[in-house]
Amino acid sequence: MLRVRRFEERCVELYSAARIRGFMHLYIGEEAVAVGVNEALTDADAVVSTYREHGHALARGVPAEAIMAEMFGKVTGCSRGRGGSMHLFDAGRRFYGGNAIVGGGIPLAAGLALADRMTGRNRVTCCFFGDGAFAEGEFHETANLAALWELPLLLVCENNLYAMGTALARHQAQTDLALRAAGYGMVSWAVDGMDVFAVEDAARRAAEGIRAGTGPHFLEMHTYRFRAHSMYDPDRYRDKAEIEHWKERDPVEGLARRLRDAKELSDKARTALEDRLSAEIDGAVEAAEQAPDEPVEDLLKYVTSPVGVSRP
């Protein structure tokens, strides 16, 4: 969680210095969800994510260096500079992005789960999306299809109370999202998304249920983003007091406090951890800066597969 937090704090600096461009959506405040859920998944499982996916990618094990290089648009980036912040991919880690159409990744995740189901592979596909996606038809079409076909799909809704700048009560007729998902016949729970242990516990139980063949599960994570929707967002729609209130429940500091109280993380160990992460991120930035650009001659590469390649 601390890696995700520090990585993104560095991203803010780099964005302000115009080293990172485009749209950038920060996950700061929501780290417990990505980390807790990924703890419950195995390497064989799949993850489908949104445009706010730095945290999901890091928690999935995508190296900070590959992500940073991607944001710099370099050839060493995890999408070879074609994707940027919103489109991180790592096929080897079964990390399927990086979808910047709200809700667009949800049917895709159902398909990954369908393939596992049809081939008898006991794997889970986890799909992250926000409360905004709950208004999209793609969520509802997929929820119906996944429940109907009993797909091994874990739907994780990160309810951070805002669809871009529109508060939940202003965009959802019924704001109890777990209740609505349950209407599709899925096991659905609401979870404290600021508590990494609660998240991990819920995700583990859901994953076990899915592996046992009980079909899709839905987790509504109550969480909050401490920063604006994107770097362009002036954040005029939220009360400062509300943000401060949620910051009191900061998942990263909350965990640190608990570990300190349990004498599992001394101040010295915390400092050492901070130093290690700082060095890792410094290294990622330096590597990204020095990495070569993708040559413009390669612009048209990867539009279609290379000539001579047929399906494996």
């Binding site: 980036g77 070879r80 895709l108 369908l114 047929s310």
Partner: protein, 359 residues
């Protein structure tokens, strides 16, 4: 973009035999399902109903509900699920009832299927085949009759096929399935009942190149799909008047085969493009522009176009017929290209289609 495949020899195909376009498509599906266990067919009514157009009739009984998968009326979800399944190693064939309904899945087709390979820096090819009907001529009115394949041909990352003959209906699916990238197959609704002899031993169909369906020397009629029979009929009419029309069947709408088109124009020096899409921003516009860009000095006449009138497709037969490219209009356009006399009635019909002015 090259696709290769090997076709298993079917003893029943050792000599010419009578079949229909619908049966040829079904045979192609059956072969794909038998040859590769990763292949499955998914879509609305493909199973118990036997396919909205009867293409998949009997396949459920043969292959079971896991592989002949009836989907809810959720185009976006089941097309997206097909894309996800393709990413995970399956070989889905997704059927969408008509191109009009495919718009409900356009996000998945454009933003995912066509985009993932590039956006992931080459990591995520999407080996999916999406089939759908297109076109008018059966009095189904505006929401079941449009020809939007030109829109899909606009999109980099897709291969777009339009089988117009029994042979292509039978043998295009295998190379489509062998292509590592997304392939869209547009089946014109008026072709399903077309019957004829399926030639034996055609071998794999080449999905990289257009085909000259009828050689000629005076004018190139460039078309595809449901308009091919009309272009061939027009070529017969023109032959009666001593005009030798060459008919080029594009077969693959993306990538376009500039070479075959160009070679034909270089032979005939005149071109008419027949496209059931609306004229404005159409595939016909693209072909016309390419011919002009690449073969301007070969041309003895402006490139002609015969397209659908600029109107949502009407129900009434007379109106629908007037809106669509017809043989008379093609003949008139070809005659205009060669500088011959144009019959008055045909001229009016063709002009209407060309200008898009109704009445």
């Amino acid at each position: 973009m090259t696709a290769t495949h090997t076709r298993t020899t079917d003893p029943a195909a050792s000599s010419d035999r009578k079949t229909t376009y619908r049966e040829a498509m079904r045979e192609a599906l059956r072969e794909a399902l038998r040859t590769d266990e990763r292949v499955f067919l998914m879509g609305e009514d493909v199973g118990r109903y036997g396919g909205c157009f009867g293409v998949s009739l009997g396949l459920l009984e043969e292959f079971g509900p896991e592989r002949i998968r009836d989907a809810p009326l959720s185009e976006s979800a089941f097309v997206g699920a097909g894309i996800g399944a393709a990413l995970a190693g399956m070989r889905p064939i997704v059927e969408i009832m008509t191109v009009n309904f495919s718009l409900l899945a356009l996000d998945q087709i454009l933003n995912n299927a066509a985009t993932l390979l590039h956006m992931s820096g080459g990591q995520l090819p999407v080996p999916i085949v999406i089939r759908m009907t297109t076109g008018a001529g059966r009095q189904l009115a505006a929401q079941h009759s449009h020809s939007l394949e030109g829109w899909y041909a606009h999109i980099p990352g897709l291969r777009v096929l339009a089988p117009a003959t029994l042979t292509d209906a039978r043998y295009m699916l295998a190379p489509a399935l062998a292509d590592p990238d997304p392939v869209l197959i547009f089946e014109h609704g008026s072709l399903y009942n077309v019957s004829g002899d399926l030639p034996a031993d055609t071998g794999p169909v080449d999905i990289d190149h257009a085909a000259v369906r009828r050689p000629g020397t005076d004018v190139s009629l460039i078309t595809y799909g449901g308009s091919l029979p009309k272009a061939l009929a027009a070529a017969d009419d023109l032959a009666n008047d001593g005009i030798s029309a060459e008919v080029v069947d594009l077969r693959t709408l993306r990538p376009l085969d500039d070479t075959t088109i160009g070679d034909s124009v270089a032979r005939t020096h005149r071109a008419v493009v027949i496209d059931e899409g609306w004229r404005t921003g159409s595939l016909a516009a693209e072909i016309s522009a390419r011919v002009t860009e690449q073969h301007f000095y070969d041309l003895d006449a402006p490139v002609g176009r015969v397209c659908s009138a600029e109107v949502p497709m009407p129900y009434a037969r007379r109106l629908e017929e007037a809106a669509l490219p017809q043989v008379d209009g093609i003949v008139a356009a070809a005659r205009r290209a060669v500088g011959g006399p144009v019959p008055t009635g045909a001229d009016a019909a063709e002009r209407q289609a060309v200008t898009g002015r109704a009445g």
